[in-house]
Symmetry: C2
Subunit: 369 residues, 2 copies
Amino acid sequence: MSTDQISVTIDLGDRSYPIDIAEGLLSDPALFSQCPKASMAVIVTNDVVAPLYAATLEASLRRYYPRVHTVILPDGEEFKTWQTLQKIFDGLLENGADRKTVLFALGGGVVGDMTGFAAASYMRGVPFVQVPTTLLAQVDSSVGGKTAINHPLGKNMIGAFYQPQLVVCDLETLDTLPERELAAGIGEIIKYGPIYDMEFFSWLEANMPALLRRDRAALAHAVKRSCEIKAWVVGQDEREGGLRAILNFGHTFGHAIEAGMGYGNWLHGEGVAAGMVMAAELSRRLGMVDAAFVARLRALIERAGLPVRGAVIDEQDNAGRYLQLMRVDKKSEAGEIRFVLIDGPGKAVVKPAPDALVREVIDACCAPT
Amino acid sequence: MSTDQISVTIDLGDRSYPIDIAEGLLSDPALFSQCPKASMAVIVTNDVVAPLYAATLEASLRRYYPRVHTVILPDGEEFKTWQTLQKIFDGLLENGADRKTVLFALGGGVVGDMTGFAAASYMRGVPFVQVPTTLLAQVDSSVGGKTAINHPLGKNMIGAFYQPQLVVCDLETLDTLPERELAAGIGEIIKYGPIYDMEFFSWLEANMPALLRRDRAALAHAVKRSCEIKAWVVGQDEREGGLRAILNFGHTFGHAIEAGMGYGNWLHGEGVAAGMVMAAELSRRLGMVDAAFVARLRALIERAGLPVRGAVIDEQDNAGRYLQLMRVDKKSEAGEIRFVLIDGPGKAVVKPAPDALVREVIDACCAPT
């Protein structure tokens, strides 16, 4: 079935921009008429996405840019490093990219985060456009201007708040997404329920089978509603002075799993999925939600094919290792970990929790299944 | 003689900040009460400046910050690289720096540029304070929020516009500055005459001996007037959409000399000095200033002990190599080099020039003396 084009606006004053959502957008050159003019466009993508979509995007962009150059990075979270970022800078400088050159991030969250940081830093800032081709990137990482690379001691530690000019979510690109990555994207979609919109959560419960079989209309609604919620939150708090941190529900535990297992072993959305169950369980032990809520969240995550238990990342002192990794989280202050907790379904708060209680949650949620 | 404390404000709305200029500021803890509060301060400095001033600054900061940690980098433009920047990130993460940690850049332009970029990028942005200890940094690089590292293919290619919270210019630190670096700083001061203020230029002509013997009152006036002009320009055009580029007078040729000779062989201020003569000569050949103006500029630069001739950076094709290096300048657009030219003394414009004429200028200004 076909979907109508949807546009969601991120309202940030003179940094506002649209998120366009529909099928077939990559091959619709008219869409790109709204991009900044320049003598060159540079597409940054990875070696999995390039054979699928680079030629289509190049053809669309050639209508507007005399020169279109493509930089191809290796695929995977383990390459979200300075070394890979350098490949983008090398490609830009070797091809004579100037301050007006427009970068296009064609791929998932890793490509988007790295291209965004490259755009923020190249000659102290050039314009860029997000063209997310994974569900996770369409519903979360391509929207809101968070860009970063990983540091060996922590995920997304080096980066910038830097907004794109436009986000292009072509639903057709989800056809080629591996099942595991589709599920990981659904993990980030589920997130928006507990923190903000339990009506959307109910919709997800009713429509999980449609999402899993990639029904276009269901995907369109899920992407749209996710972007609307994210747009609202980012519009209130662009630089994460407070509210925006609620979007990191499940991420504190999740980042520890990702780092503890070695980047690339657990997908980001998988870490977030198990992390949401752990954060919900912590909320329950703090008396903020009941067991029925935790069970309901766990059930939906399980139906999406996502992990509901944390990984054992240290055989000797698992909880200790979690705590150690979580202390370098960006939400920490003076060594105190701050968790995104659910204070009643549909409402998130950010606050610390006693180490002993956190250890209990880790022990309960990571025991062998 | 003693100097009164002077304060110049950079007016950028909610990113405004003061530049405090006086002697003895490093050992005046009251001064730092205006810095953001946090549980930790991190001083970034280099192995030349650290033994001279790190302990003094640490002592002043301990009054406000429970933890003060110092990161010491190798000294020199050739270390203005990602590898060195990583040492700052390592130091921050290993010491548990969080989003509120305040960075203090104690040193010259290289330390300031790198610390500023580290502050812009660490956890997507932490506050920082510039404590410039060289004349060049006090009159130019510490003010205005340009931060960067070099790329093998071009100077300052990777960076951010990121404003400090405060700039502390302690004139006492200039006592220990090597003569060559004092002269390099005077090069950047001279720049403000031709581009904006010929009255200041006349003052410099009258006071060059006082500056060279490090007369405190003369230095205080030169730093203050330079900061005032820079503050005005940056206040008009923070992100170099247009006007701000005039501050790069002499820098297009100068960057080519620095890169062509290998970073660290010519000081930045030395490249700018010879570059100003070359840019003035190009302006003359375009009919924008007369020979008397070029001679007057050259004479003042020479009195400061700075080079007035460009380096020969390629024995075979010197002009060709200059052009090649200048094409990657950040002011270039679509491969066309844009020069800061003097359109009558005291007024700068940014425009391209014919390659043939630029070659003539390079040949005339780089011939063996």
